[in-house]
């Protein structure tokens, strides 16, 4: 759960009416002499942890995290005897963003440490330092941690180099891995057929739009655009019109034309391109698996770039859009009432209702990313007039991994995996998706809206916002990025070249795409083409 979403719910905490409703129900039950049926242990734990500290009862504290950790120890106790790991010392490397991540893990694992006897040392890193620290550890052979919180895109850098330990079968059972949403199922989390990752988060881009722009008589047309062709047409048609909410100029889709965002900006071009290029018959949409030849300059990608160029040429964006990075489009523009369509992670959904600077809370709707009326089939090198949707699973979420440092020591290995499994447990994950943790829902069981409603959440909002996530997660043609070494290097140079194209330094969208492709070829050659091909195919499960 993102902090902002929690805050939003916290504001709509128990009111007098709800309190009376609850009291009346309890009174009725008491009068009837009825006793609640004993729920099975699993269900009661879920209900119990959702009450810690209780929606609207303020931000959870370390004591709350420890309580949750204690209540969720059941699966650990089934597999580990008390004091079994006495004397074992483990090192855990993770993030300290927003005082979440490692801060929570410490609390969750404290009861685990007390029960098992193991001790955990912590390496806390800021997000900005994380990539460099990890890359340097890998490159210099100084991996000094046994357990790591890591994003799936780095699996190529780690699993691909034999730095990770394969997940034991008992861990899969303990974490109930079958419950993961569609796209987080293998091959994600696996490498060469072996499983390495305990998923603790999910990521995807979804489509956010202004409901007051679209509908009968609205300035954007009678229906919400569902394809990129419609998005561009609506964006052009909105030029010169007036925003119904702010009274300022109306605008359509908000592309972050600055793009340069440490590689993360490339996801926003990918949002446009995936519907053109991600063919249902193939998982590959960025590189050709047999050669690592970039697909980024094929007609589908070029069309996506051209779509952006067309809106630039038509002056359809707000002023100074060339300096708008994704943060600007989401938080300074869309939430502040500029523009009507956007693709982003879940934060926009939660911020729309909770941020003080948001003016669109009551006029925002969500859906999966737009599709395309035609798609490019790279295998036949031809366009197909078929409707195509391919939501991008941008970044694929965080996971817990165990490094091969523990592989030679059975006890330490079991301890490391037990700690990781505790953090990735099914019940504990419900709590992390419901309270501020830095993680989004990622299991099918997280989308049982009744549980959320019972915990005090607004069902309509949860269904709309989380519904767009689950639809994207489970989309059969979801575009999943390759988990190969240096993937963000490819994205970063693409951002630089794309910006040059937007600023007219290349003659056309094709030239821009060719420049990106040439830069990608250089990176592939530098990292090693043969190894990249092998790792790419492994990441695609081929």
């Amino acid at each position: 759960m993102k902090t902002e979403l929690y805050n939003m719910v916290a504001r709509s905490r128990v009111n007098r009416r709800r309190l009376l409703q609850g009291a009346a129900s309890a009174g009725a039950l008491a009068a009837m002499g009825a006793r609640p049926a004993m729920a099975e242990a699993h269900g009661s734990v879920r209900a119990e942890i959702l009450k810690i500290p209780g929606v609207g009862m303020g931000s959870p504290t370390d004591a709350d995290w420890q309580k949750v950790g204690e209540l969720c120890l059941g699966p650990t106790k089934e597999r580990v005897a008390e004091g079994e790991f006495a004397g074992v010392e483990l090192t855990f490397m993770g993030l300290n963003n927003q005082n979440l991540h490692n801060f929570l893990f410490r609390g969750f694992l404290k009861p685990w440490e007390a029960y098992t006897g193991a001790t955990i040392n912590w390496i806390d890193l800021a997000q900005a330092d994380y990539n460099a620290r990890l890359q340097q550890s890998i490159a210099t052979g100084t991996v000094d941690f046994d357990i790591i919180e890591m994003g799936a895109p780095f699996e190529g850098d780690t699993a691909g180099r034999g730095l990770l330990d394969e997940m034991p079968e008992w861990v899969k059972e303990q974490i109930e891995a079958d419950d993961l949403v569609g796209y987080l199922q293998p091959p994600v989390g696996t490498w060469d057929g072996k499983t390495y990752r305990i998923t603790i988060d999910g990521d995807c881009h979804t489509f956010a739009y202004r409901t007051d722009y679209f509908g009968e008589g609205a300035i954007g047309g009678p229906k919400v655009p569902s394809t990129w062709q419609e998005v561009n047409a609506a964006s052009l048609a909105l030029k010169g019109q007036t925003d119904p909410l702010t009274g300022l100029d109306a605008h359509g889709f908000l592309d972050p034309l600055k793009y340069q965002w440490g590689g993360f900006g490339f996801y926003f071009l990918a949002d446009r391109a995936s519907s053109y290029v991600k063919h249902p018959d193939s998982p590959a949409w960025l590189f050709e698996p047999e050669t690592m030849k970039p697909m980024v300059n094929n007609p589908g990608w070029v069309q996506a770039i051209q779509d952006v160029f067309d809106l630039v040429a038509a002056d359809a964006y707000p002023a100074d859009q060339v300096n708008a990075d994704p943060n600007t489009t989401a938080f300074s523009q869309f939430l502040a009432g500029t523009g009507s369509m956007l693709t982003w992670w879940g934060d926009v959904g939660s911020n729309a209702r909770t941020s003080d600077s948001s003016v669109v809370g009551d006029v925002v709707g969500f859906g999966i990313n737009p599709g395309s009326e035609r798609r490019f089939n790279a295998a036949t090198a031809s366009w197909e007039d078929e409707m195509n949707e391919a939501p991008v699973m941008s970044y694929i979420g965080w996971g817990i991994y165990v490094t091969s440092r523990v592989s030679g020591d059975d006890l330490k290995r079991k301890a490391a995996w037990s700690a990781a499994a505790h953090l990735g447990g099914k019940d504990l994950s419900l709590w992390t998706s419901a309270y501020p943790s830095g993680f989004q829902p990622y299991r099918n069981s997280h989308f049982q809206y009744e549980e959320w409603e019972e915990a005090g959440y607004d069902r309509a909002f949860v269904e709309d916002y989380l519904g767009s996530n689950v639809d994207s997660y489970n989309h059969p043609n979801a575009a999943i990025e390759p988990r190969i070494p240096g993937i963000f290097q490819y994205y970063s140079i693409a951002e630089d070249e794309l910006v040059k194209g937007i600023n007219g330094q290349y003659g056309s969208a094709q030239e821009t795409a060719d420049a990106i492709a040439a830069a990608w070829e250089d990176i592939t050659d530098q990292i090693g083409r043969e190894s990249q091909i092998a790792l790419y195919k492994a990441s695609l499960g081929m």
Binding site: K258, P485, Q489, N503
Partner: protein, 369 residues
């Protein structure tokens, strides 16, 4: 004969160093050096897979270097007595500089001539001059260098403004002390704070107060970072705002050091204010001015923080600096070998440029006879 002969005035005790002590000193120095060489050789063999001694880090070599450093210092005292003790005032510092500056620099040259992408499974590979060729053909680097020329040229108007402000603050004006402190404030701000407060907030095109002010004046298209020229100018302006006070304070100090008698003598000789400034004050200020400009150039050549925060080098590379480009190459692309080469070449360019500039300025500031 003592090595300190001829320097007896500075020797507190007369050393009578025996041959045995001298030999011990020589043995300590060469013995510790031999240990260093042997440990380093063993580690090198271990690191290159020629032997397996079970080394897990380069710390043994570091410890051997420390041992040799101590041995070298101790050996000086053993061999040369009092004179050797005097050597100890400099030798540890020299060894420290060697270890912390010279060695990393040499190591850095090795990395600069390597193909080392942190994501590459092959690790660091020596690739000779390939990185230099790549740099030669890299339009991003040349574009950044070209931008640096513009940024450096902007120092001239900055200097003129700083000189003007310094002259004003040197004059008998009201609240002079207040203005001196007030004008210094921007220098106390972190460039990162300037980037966010001014570049990302006040100049923000949608809600920034400056943009709103211009809109209220009827300016339709208010955008400070959209066109290449305007964006470059705004970066220059923010950087200038931060660092003009630095030049101003140096010039002010210089102005206050000029004897008043000189200007009074000029006035007695019939020089007006402009002629007095141009013929007396300005020439006398040349050494200070050149120093201020040279230091400012060094600051300017490192310009990166404002660019990274506000424009990321855009639009289309118009505001990119060499340092911000190297930052992207390192942070976003983990391209350590190439990034190091770019930094090394930039260092060489800066050294050559500054040397030429100092030689030329020396000629300018030489008193005319």
């Amino acid at each position: 004969m003592s090595t300190s002969e001829g320097d007896l005035l500075h020797v507190v005790t007369a050393d009578d160093i025996s041959d045995g002590r001298r030999k011990l000193g020589t043995t300590v120095i060469w013995g510790s050096f031999a240990i260093l060489v042997i440990v380093a050789a063993l580690q090198w063999a271990d690191a290159n897979g020629r032997a397996d001694f079970g080394f897990t880090s380069w710390r043994p070599t570091l410890y051997a270097f420390c041992l040799w450093s101590v041995g070298l210092c101790w050996g000086q005292v053993l061999r040369f007595g009092e004179y050797g003790k005097r050597t100890l005032f400099v030798l540890p510092a020299a060894l420290f500089v060697g270890a912390m500056v010279v060695f990393p620099l040499i190591f850095g040259v090795g990395i600069a001539l390597s193909d080392w992408n942190l994501s590459s499974p092959d690790g660091r590979q020596f690739n000779g001059t390939d990185n230099i060729v790549e740099m030669w053909n890299d339009p991003f680097y040349w574009n950044a260098l070209k931008n640096m020329v513009w940024y450096v040229l902007a120092i001239l108007p900055e200097y003129a403004i700083a000189f003007g402000l310094a002259v004003l603050l040197n004059a008998q004006i009201r609240a002079r002390k207040f203005f001196r402190v007030a004008f210094l404030l921007p220098l106390m701000l972190s460039p990162v704070a300037v980037s966010w407060m001014i570049g990302k907030s006040m100049l923000e095109v949608r809600f920034g107060p400056i943009a709103r002010f211009f809109r209220s004046l009827g300016v339709e298209d208010v955008a400070f970072f959209s066109s290449p020229e305007m964006a470059r100018f705004m970066i220059m302006a923010m950087d200038a705002w931060t660092f003009i006070p630095f030049m101003m304070i140096m010039i002010l100090a210089g102005l206050q050091a000029i004897p008043k008698e000189l200007n009074e003598a000029a006035r007695v000789d019939g020089a007006g204010p402009w002629r007095g400034f141009w013929e007396v004050t300005f020439p006398l200020m040349l050494p200070v001015s050149i120093t201020a400009i040279l230091i400012r150039i060094i600051f300017k050549l490192k310009l990166a923080d404002i660019v990274i925060n506000v424009t990321s080098g855009g639009p289309g590379g118009a505001t990119d600096t060499v340092t911000s480009f190297i930052f992207r190459e390192y942070r976003d692309r983990s391209n350590v070998g190439y990034g190091t080469l770019l930094a090394m070449v930039y260092l060489v360019i800066i050294v050559i440029f500054m040397t030429i500039l100092m030689k030329v300025s020396e000629r300018w500031t030489r008193p005319r006879t």
